[in-house]
Each structure stands twice: as structure tokens, then as C-alpha cells.
């Protein structure tokens, strides 16, 4: 437990430092801040992975939990989601080297990790029988990977809104010249969402198959199921409007942000509405 907490606190400190570097880079012209952000983030992701590994070791001490991922508690799920956001950003950043986006995405990873450390109970418990299925290692992991990508898209969308505001303002600040063009941000936002959408869809379908195997129905209109469908429909709406209506820029970002609000509600809020999926709030 000590090792797990030490590593996750280190990851939190590194994410916070990387966020600081990203913010400094936002207002400076020195590329070294961006480089340091990436380095600190990389080490932070490694620490977080180490913490996850230490947690797995503890989790597997209970025989019934053996070979399952420890994401059945609020701490485990939130920590994993923050790790996925950070890792997804690391991959996107290495691919696109926009540098500036760290200021918008990394706070999400830092806040998620911080919330897990401060508010959630890190103790490991035995899995209830319903979660002792191989789907436990697939269905939530796939969905959280999609959520992490949507988190990155949210950061990109935020940057787009700021850039547009800067361009329209009479006195654009230095920030305007640091941020990528609106078209570039819009394309990146679209690319991330388009990559995440089939993953979200696959995750929802997997949940249906698991529900059929465990409870005898593919779809039961449980709050979690319904809100994940709402999320998928909102992102489908975004993609549809972009492809069919050519929706771009600010309006497209508003739709994607509405969909991301639904992601947040699906992850946090619905746990208090759903009995079947209430395990995150220890109600299931």
C-alpha cells in the first residue's frame, strides 16, 4: 500500500510539474519548457504505471481477484482513467508535437490523480461475483480508453475556443501566436474523436454481451447503459454534423464539449443513479 501511494503521489507531483511547464511554455517562446513537459510527463506516466502495478500486486493477494484489473473501486477507476488521459496525451503529443496542448489536457490528468489520492479509498477489496468475469478486464478498460481520448479532445477543443477568441479580439495576446491554427485544432479534435468513437461503441457492445451472459439481457436501460448511449449518440451527432453538414470550428467544439460533459456524467454522476453499475460508489 505504501509503495502504491508513494508512486501515485510522485506521479501526481510530476503531472502537476508538467502542467506548470506546459503553462510556462504557453506564455514563453522557449521550446525547452515543452521538452521538459514531455520528459516529466513520461516519468509521471511510468510512476503511475508503477503504482498501478503495486496495486495489482495487492489486489491479487485475494485469490478471487487473481488476473483481474483493480478498477472495481472509485480509487482504481479514477486512477486508471487519469493514467489513460496522461498516456493518451503522451502518445498524441509525441505524434503531433504541438507542445501547447499540455496546458489544456494535463490539468485533467493531474486533477483526476489528485482526486483519487485525496478523496478515494485506496484499499483493495474482493470482487463481487458479478465482476468475476473476463469481461472485467475488457469492457471497462476499453470504455476508459475511449473516455481518456475524449478528455484529450476536450483539451484540444478548449484550445480552439481560446484561439478563436484571440483571433476575434482586437488585441490578440502572445497566446494567439503560440496556439496552432483553428483549422489544425479542429482537425485534431475531429481525429481524436473519430478514433475514440468506435472504441466507445465497441465498449458499449461488449457491456451488452457481458450483461447478457450475467443477467440475461443485452440492454436493460440501466442509468449507466443509458448515459453511455447518450454519450455515443452525442458524439455520433458531432460526427454526423461534421460529415453531412460540414460543421467546423466553434459550433462543432460546442457539440463535442456537450458530449464530453455526458462522458463526465456517465463516469461520475451515474454511479449514484445506477444500482447495477454502482460499484464505483460502493453501492453495487
Amino acid at each position: 500500500m505504501m509503495m502504491q501511494m508513494m508512486l501515485i503521489k510522485s506521479a501526481l507531483a510530476l503531472y502537476a510539474a508538467a502542467t506548470g511547464m506546459a503553462l510556462t511554455y504557453l506564455f514563453s517562446k522557449d521550446d525547452k519548457w515543452s521538452l521538459w513537459m514531455l520528459r516529466l510527463l513520461g516519468i509521471g506516466v511510468l510512476c503511475h504505471l508503477g503504482s498501478f502495478g503495486a496495486r495489482q500486486y495487492l489486489f491479487w493477494q485475494i485469490p478471487e481477484n487473481r488476473w483481474f484489473f483493480s478498477i472495481n473501486s472509485f480509487f482504481g477507476a479514477l486512477s486508471f482513467l487519469a493514467l489513460a488521459v496522461a498516456a493518451a496525451f503522451f502518445v498524441i503529443e509525441r505524434e503531433h508535437r504541438l507542445g501547447i496542448l499540455g496546458a489544456f489536457v494535463l490539468p485533467c490528468a493531474a486533477l483526476g490523480t489528485g482526486a483519487a489520492v485525496i478523496f478515494a479509498d485506496p484499499a483493495t477489496r474482493g470482487l463481487p461475483p458479478a465482476l468475476q468475469s473476463y469481461w472485467m478486464n475488457i469492457h471497462p478498460m476499453v470504455l476508459m480508453a475511449a473516455y481518456a481520448m475524449f478528455g484529450n479532445a476536450f483539451g484540444v477543443g478548449l484550445a480552439l475556443l481560446i484561439q478563436e477568441h484571440q483571433i476575434k479580439s482586437r488585441k490578440p495576446s502572445e497566446l494567439c501566436y503560440r496556439l496552432p491554427s483553428i483549422e489544425e485544432l479542429d482537425n485534431l479534435n475531429y481525429k481524436i474523436i473519430v478514433a475514440a468513437f468506435p472504441i466507445l461503441t465497441a465498449g458499449i457492445i461488449m457491456g451488452g454481451v457481458w450483461a447478457y451472459e450475467a443477467w440475461g439481457r443485452f440492454w436493460g436501460w440501466d442509468a449507466k447503459e443509458t448515459w453511455s448511449l447518450v454519450t455515443a449518440l452525442l458524439y455520433a451527432g458531432y460526427l454526423h454534423m461534421r460529415l453531412v453538414r460540414g460543421l467546423r470550428g466553434r459550433k462543432a467544439v460546442y457539440v463535442s464539449m456537450l458530449a464530453f460533459a455526458s462522458v463526465i456524467f456517465t463516469f461520475f454522476g451515474v454511479n449514484y443513479l445506477s444500482d447495477l453499475h454502482g460499484y464505483l460508489s460502493a453501492r453495487g
Partner: protein, 470 residues
């Protein structure tokens, strides 16, 4: 009317209405999922309840108007797809030999390239086709132009099927749900351990629970496993038997038996009483003197989760959270009122009056050490013939969206014209990806094609470069 159904705005409105309704349904307690919460809400908000009841909000996902919205969406998709037939495997429009139109199309393309080749017309034409085929392009059509020859090459043409599949998938999913609604069933069958129960929907089938077991994590009431040894018989003949667990149901001809829940109905085999260091086992309804005491008692009633309701004994649930047993005293000179003893709290003792009222009493010289309850196993029996249809629809939806969003159609129009003994090659490109994304790919592709076609920079082009795309 047809215009209305085909309009994107109507589709968006319909989708938004379904999304909003689905979201609202999660905020109002639903009768099917949480009947107690729905009843509590109705009791607390009678005014709202009447309104919600009228619109079917307490069973929103089965309300006529919600089903109507889903049906309208399905109808809309069917009509839209009828008006827009599925794409053909071959590019019919390219098969046309209207070369002038093709050339005009080429000139309208956002991506254009023009270069000279040392190769004569026929060899340049064949080399261009080979070069693009090597890059994964399919030659969709070739035709003659007034001055030379042209062809159309495509890549990832399957993308056009993506939208079609994704929309059809929605109808397939709804069809699966309809099949389930008409032919399927779900019933909860609580069966006491060692007993049997006939199914409502399959009355000729009898379900036996030979053994039910539950295991808890050490020091907690959190279950780590619960299982039932099941037998299903039809007219005395054994159909199947299996020990079922959560996630491991029994399947007989598509009818699946799930381990859903368990509980204690109040029945028990025996209790163990402790007086000092001496234990006495007492079967239910058997009179027996407790060793080490002068009392002869009988255990007759058990409450799995004891609570005092209206002053009298009751159970808050069927979970063994606070099990208590009532003991009736027999014999002796003095009449003693029935006592309630608690397994989890040996110091606690209640006496039941003639009117059923409970009052605290001093602890007797014995305590309730253990109860051997007869548990019931809650078996959910479900038959869903629409499952595979829904699954197929979901798969179609996934494949459709992947084709639609991951594949990007590319189309190239290539015109080769003779220029002395050499050729002039004009290429126009289009992609379903954004122009910016395709720009770099098109540039690289043209660089490769040009290199394969023995370019010559010394040859002056006989025609002006292609105009900029508007």
C-alpha cells in the same frame, strides 16, 4: 412529407428527442428497475406523480411515445435508405465514357499535379495504372479523351458502405428488440434449497435447486461466490443439470437460467443455543430442554433482517443482515412470554407481548449461537431470441462506423496526352478526408508516380498547368 423524412434537421431533432428522453428516464425512478424507489417518489410527490404517470415517465422506456420515437427513427432510416439505394461495388459514373465531363471533374479537384514523361502515350498510360495499383488504388474505369486517354483510380471505396451499414444496423437492432418483446420472456423464480418450482412461461419444465451455497470474504458480509446446483426436468425426464453461478448460466434450447440473487425467507433447519460452555442444537418446532438450564423451549419463527415495525417484529429485507429467532417457553410453573434472540448481538433480547408489542428484556441464561437457515436461490430465467439479431446489428453498427470514419475514400482522375514522342500527365485528386490531410499524401503519391514514369524536366509542356481549384 417525404422532404420532412429526408431532412437532416428532422433526423437531428428525432435523435435529440430520443437522447433527451433516455436521459430523463435515468433521473426518474423506473418501475421495472427500482419499484420501491418509484413508489417512494409517488408517495412524496403526488402532484408530479399524476403528471409523470400520464406520460408514462415511471416506465419511460416502454412508454408508447418513446417506442413511437424509436419506431419513427427506424421508419425514417428505412425510407431514407430506400430513397438512397446502396452504393454499387463498381463506380458506375466512372464507367461512363463522357470524357469531357471527366476532364472537367479533374480540373475542379482540390489536388492537382501536372508533369511530363519520356514514355510514349500507351506506355505512360500503362505505367501510371501500374504505379497507382502498387499504391493500393483500383482502376475503376478508363476511357479515351479527345487528345489522349484517361482513367479513374479509387482507394477505400468501401467507405461509401459505412453510412449505409450504420443506418441499417439501427433498424436491425430495433428488429432484434421487437423479436425479444414478442417471443422472449424473463421471469424470476425463487426456489428454496431442496425444493422445486415450475416455470410460468414453460409450465412443463420443473426447476430443482438441489443445493445452494454462498461464501463470504473473511470477516465481512460481502459475498465472494454463490452458486446453485440445478436440475431441470420435463415430465419426470431430466433435461439438464449444472451448478450455475453469476456469469455462468445454464442454457437449455436458448432458455437461460441465471444465478441472480438469494435470500432467506424465514425458514430454518435448526438453531444452536449456548448456555455457559454447553451447546444445544434445536431443530425448528422441536421442544427441547437447553442443557445447563431449566428451560424447555421451541424455536418457531426467524426474521432474516429483524426490525420492529409498528412495534411488532418484521424483517427489513430477505438478507441475513440481522437474523433473529423467536423462542417459546414450555412447561415450568411460571409463564414466560416468547423471546427474540439475535445471532449477531447475543446481549440483545426482546420480549413479545400478547398484542405482539416488543419490549426490552434482560438477557436470559442462554444465547443464540448459530442459525442454520434454509436459503432460497433467486434464478432468473430468460429467453431472448432477439439477442443474436441485436448482436448482429451492433456488429454492423461498429463495422459501419469504422468503415465510415476510419476508411477515407480517395479518387484520382489521370489524363495522359501525347506530346511529341513523350507524354503529358495530368492528375486530379479528391479524398473524403479534409483537403489539408490529403495534401501531404497526394504530394508524396505524385512524387512516386512521377519518379516511376521517367520524368523529363527539359520537355516543355504543350499546355498550361491546370487551373487552381475553385
Amino acid at each position: 412529407m417525404t422532404k420532412l423524412f429526408r431532412s437532416v434537421r428532422f433526423n437531428i431533432f428525432l435523435g435529440a428527442a430520443i437522447t433527451l428522453a433516455a436521459a430523463v428516464g435515468t433521473l426518474i425512478p423506473q418501475l421495472g428497475e427500482a419499484p420501491e424507489k418509484a413508489a417512494a417518489f409517488q408517495g412524496a410527490h403526488p402532484q408530479w406523480s399524476r403528471l409523470f404517470d400520464f406520460f408514462g415517465f415511471f416506465d419511460l422506456y416502454h412508454a408508447w411515445w418513446f417506442m413511437g420515437l424509436l419506431g419513427l427513427m427506424a421508419l425514417d432510416i428505412v425510407l431514407c435508405q430506400l430513397w438512397s439505394p446502396p452504393p454499387q461495388f463498381a463506380c458506375e459514373e466512372e464507367a461512363s465514357s463522357r470524357s469531357s465531363r471527366k476532364e472537367a471533374t479533374l480540373r475542379r479537384n482540390p489536388h492537382q499535379a501536372l508533369f511530363a514523361s519520356r514514355l510514349p502515350l500507351e506506355r505512360a498510360f500503362a505505367q501510371a495504372q501500374r504505379g497507382l495499383a502498387a499504391q493500393g488504388y483500383r482502376i475503376a474505369a478508363d476511357f479515351a479523351t479527345p487528345a489522349g486517354a484517361a482513367f479513374v483510380a479509387t482507394k477505400h471505396g468501401l467507405q461509401r458502405w459505412g453510412s449505409y451499414l450504420a443506418h441499417i444496423a439501427f433498424v436491425v437492432i430495433l428488429a432484434g428488440a421487437l423479436v425479444k418483446g414478442i417471443f422472449g420472456f424473463v421471469e424470476m423464480v425463487p426456489v428454496m434449497e431442496g425444493r422445486s418450482q415450475a416455470l410460468q412461461h414453460k409450465p412443463q419444465w420443473e426447476l430443482f435447486v438441489d443445493k445452494f451455497s454462498v461464501k463470504y470474504y473473511d470477516g465481512t458480509r460481502e459475498p465472494k461466490d454463490f452458486a446453485s446446483r440445478l436440475r431441470v426436468k420435463q415430465g419426470g425426464a431430466l433435461l439438464a443439470q449444472k451448478t450455475i453461478r453469476v456469469n455462468a448460466p445454464l442454457d437449455i434450447q436458448g432458455v437461460r437460467f441465471y444465478q441472480a440473487t438469494w435470500g432467506a425467507g424465514g425458514d430454518f433447519r435448526s438453531v444452536t443455543l449456548k448456555a455457559g460452555d454447553v451447546f444445544t442444537e434445536l431443530p425448528r418446532h422441536a421442544r427441547r430442554r437447553i442443557a445447563g438450564t431449566p428451560f424447555e423451549v421451541e424455536a418457531d419463527v426467524m426474521m432474516p433482517n429483524f426490525t420492529a415495525e409498528d412495534g411488532g417484529p418484521a424483517t427489513a429485507s430477505l438478507d441475513l443482515d440481522n437474523p433473529a429467532v423467536r423462542f417459546i417457553f414450555h412447561g415450568g410453573a411460571r409463564k414466560i412470554r416468547p423471546l427474540w434472540l439475535f445471532e449477531n448481538d447475543p446481549q440483545h433480547c426482546l420480549v413479545e407481548g400478547e398484542d405482539g408489542a416488543l419490549t426490552h428484556a434482560p438477557k436470559p441464561p442462554f444465547e443464540l449461537a448459530a442459525i442454520d437457515p434454509v436459503l432460497f436461490s433467486g434464478i432468473q430465467v430468460a429467453y431472448d431470441p432477439g439477442y443474436k439479431i441485436v448482436l448482429a446489428g451492433s456488429g454492423l453498427w461498429l463495422i459501419g462506423t469504422i468503415m465510415l470514419f476510419y476508411l477515407h475514400r480517395r479518387r484520382l482522375w489521370v489524363i495522359v496526352e501525347p506530346q511529341g514522342g513523350a507524354s503529358c500527365v495530368s492528375v486530379g485528386g479528391w479524398s473524403s478526408r479534409g483537403a489539408q490531410d490529403f495534401e501531404a499524401e497526394f504530394g508524396l503519391l505524385m512524387e512516386r508516380l512521377r519518379a516511376e514514369m521517367e520524368p523529363r524536366s527539359d520537355l516543355a509542356l504543350s499546355r498550361n498547368p491546370l487551373p487552381e481549384a475553385s
